[in-house]
Symmetry: C2
Subunit: 478 residues, 2 copies
């Protein structure tokens, strides 16, 4: 079977006149003559020209949308539009039939909602083929970016006993028969008898463990699944999603911003370079979709332009305090058009505020720094003003927060004091505090929600469409 | 802070006479004069030469093992042995102290067992620095191998409702208050009220979902965590481990073997090329360790030789049936030296048998194929003999099974028949069966246990030492 050529390579081939073997799935079969064949290696199909007069009618009938076939034929210059080469079939074999009456993917436009219900088949559409090839490129680009800079990829634990961050509700992990868990004499669940000898949950972040690695290896990053048991039915939340969390020793908040901006630009450029055709297809898809919206809700830029714009412009950097000033003086705030009015310093920014800054005011990605300590996590480094921490959030058009990070508090006394204030149990995090006891140093890191990045680069509107099998309330199908 | 140079780059530098800034953790401080400084970028330390006569005594006292320091100084040719350059310190800053009375990592040899208890600090040792840099390289090499071949990296779900493979016990995932889960009228747990609206668990394999991707994208691979709630306290098992699972449309069992062998050779070569120093260190470590064993238990080859040997030799390919013949006729079997006597055809091979084939008989990696269907999974393709399936296991010296794979059963009737025989509920796997209903094709895939690969390449003896924070019965620390 080794002589099979993938369609991506075939379409780039100039060796017409040669016999080739190509395999894939039928997208359409026109006039008993033209098969559009796709094998997932590219968004484009290769056209197979069938000599229908000399082909068995029974075989022709089996060339249906979704069928898997193998074709041997001559690669020839194409006379038709939209392709340079095509295959003049000499031999066609049906590998797997696809009953056109029953095949759920008809050769017509299906709604994204419907395709979500048949997520096992949606890879076979142009849109989802493109999305998952782009997702693949972005994932690899993340690795390549960090590898080029000497970072160590660290697998932090998925099952953990700590929810130190208190960031959200966690999923319990247990080996108990839930109908009948063992109890102690006092009637409480006896977690000593559970698999790990204690109550455990799914991780919400690998950061704390990542810091342990950075305090020896200098620069590390994680890339793994994280979990939130939040009952959010939105287009921006998943119960299971992938995060990238680099941690760097000897970095301050500015180094951290520089790295995050460089990383985002690197991975977007990688996708543009390697998935041109997919992104062009997705750009067209989005433009079509937006045509159904009123003019004032359409983007000023196409997807491709938006991505290029991100590469060409420095991200705007300003403090939370400056952002509050801008928002307070903004037209929508004065005209009370925000759902949440921006009054004083200290409140958290809502999505509408972030989007105003990015999409209306600066019209480019924004990095906000130095947030009030009350609205940020205990591990963020306290600034000298006693009010703010060295946090940074990167806000993207259409997405809102895509990265959250900070310089970490390396001073043991400050860290313990903050943990006491918030009520985080220090004994559970003895290992985290140890890194502040022995050889502490300034360090920083951030977290990138991978699906939010994929949303941005593919221009899709619902996060459930950029992960193969989304997990959300009441759904764990496939 | 940007002018800091990592030690790996510094040691390769020839620009003596220049001032450099270097940061890291003190490994040792000899004679108030020579600091061995490490920053995790390499196994080697840079020597910092301190002008102790002109350095504050209070500062000198704080240069202790484990302290984080920043040094500015001149890069000079080293006169000492073991390094070509060193740094003549002009300015030393203590970034973080490390009380020598309390620091758990003393400058002496600690046992691996002890280091496991302080896994948050063990990254700071030569051994674990080397292990996790090698692990990093292997992970990246896996990605690069598949990317070069046009595979799509697919994130299959971690939380799932299916334990289709029935491969092992699974961990339950729930959002319930375990002390008080909601019940139905008939007194059973009411999973409809759980987060996902059904009982869910942690995945044991991404294969089945991976196949769904391959049936559209041709070639995919997963690289993610998988879980087994087996109560195994061995040096070969973890409750949480990482798996790589490629699935390829239009591949048969031979293509599958070719790909697996090429992948193993590629990633081992990548580590040898990129982690020469780490692997040399680990080779020496293993040789030292083996010196404490009786002569006949020592390896014939050093670690480095073993890795090179894998690259230089074709893996031996034979059928299960042939292997049984060899084992039945083997000296240990005849002399009843095996714990499990090899009698007839059909029994599963034990670790001792696999190791005999690999280490004694063939003295190289072995690929066994065509196992009896009774001892393999339902999705493996049935051979025409009616007795065997197109399975393949790759066996490695010292490790045993490192890869398990097969051609998959693409024929709906054969697959359903086997599921019925074994009692696997077909309605739960409707989506898996759909890929056999619509456009099925011959395809194959395999699973590589990533930690077993890291074990092999690092020469370590316990799987708990090659993952940052191991999860096993009664342990979920950090």
């Amino acid at each position: 079977m080794s002589q099979r050529i993938k369609i991506k390579a075939l379409l780039a081939s100039t060796e017409t006149g040669k016999d080739v073997t190509v395999k894939g799935w039928v997208r359409t079969f026109r006039n008993n003559q033209f098969i559009a064949l796709n094998d997932g290696s590219t968004n484009s199909n290769i056209q197979i020209v069938v000599d229908f007069e000399n082909t068995d009618a029974a075989l022709l009938k089996r060339i249906t949308t979704g069928a898997a076939i193998s074709v041997v034929g001559e690669l020839v210059q194409s006379l038709g539009k939209g392709q340079t080469v095509e295959v003049k079939a000499k031999e066609i074999k049906i590998l797997g039939d696809s009953d056109p009456e029953k095949y759920p993917l008809q050769p017509k436009k299906h709604s994204l909602e419907f395709l979500r219900e048949i997520a096992h088949l949606r890879f076979r559409t142009n849109t989802f083929g493109a999305i998952f090839r782009v997702r693949n490129s972005l994932a690899f680009a993340v690795h390549q970016f960090f590898q080029e800079r000497g970072f160590v990829y660290l697998h932090t634990p998925i099952i953990t006993a700590s929810d130190a961050e208190g960031a959200g509700e966690t999923f319990h992990v247990t080996n108990f028969d839930i109908a009948n868990p063992p109890k102690t004499d006092t009637g409480e669940i006896d977690y000593k008898q559970d698999f790990f000898g204690r109550a455990t949950n799914l991780t919400v972040s690998g950061q704390l463990e990542g810091e342990l690695g950075a305090m020896a290896l200098s620069d590390i990053y994680t890339f793994g699944p994280t979990f939130r048991a939040e009952n959010s039915n939105t287009t921006r939340h998943l119960a299971e999603f992938w995060m990238i969390e680099p941690e760097m020793a000897f970095y301050d908040i500015v180094d951290n911003m520089d790295l995050a901006e460089a990383m985002l630009k690197y991975v977007i450029k990688y996708a543009l370079d390697n998935n041109k055709e997919d992104i062009e297809f997705l750009t067209q898809r989005l433009t079509e979709e937006e045509k159904q919206k009123p003019q004032n809700e359409r983007s000023e830029m196409s997807l491709l332009e938006k991505l290029q714009f991100c590469l060409d412009n420095d991200f705007e950097r300003l403090t939370y305090t400056e952002a509050i000033e801008i928002l307070r003086e903004s037209t929508p705030n004065k005209k009370k058009k925000f759902q949440y009015q921006v009054e004083g310093w200290g409140t958290d920014l809502q999505s509408e505020h972030e989007r105003y800054l990015v999409e209306k005011h600066f019209k480019k990605p924004v990095i906000l720094t130095n947030y009030p300590k009350e609205i940020k996590s205990f591990y963020m480094r306290q600034n000298d003003d006693g009010k703010t921490v060295a946090a940074m959030d990167i806000l993207f058009p259409g997405i809102g927060e895509i990265i959250g990070g900070s310089q970490r508090e390396e001073r043991l006394d400050k860290l313990e004091q903050r943990m006491d204030e918030i009520g985080i149990p220090k004994d559970e995090l003895w290992w985290y505090l140890d890194t502040r006891r022995f050889g502490a140093c300034p360090h920083a890191g951030f977290g990138l929600g991978f699906e939010r990045l994929v949303l941005f680069v593919t221009g899709m509107g619902n996060i459930r469409d950029v992960i193969p099998f989304p997990r959300f309330p009441k759904n764990a199908e496939f």
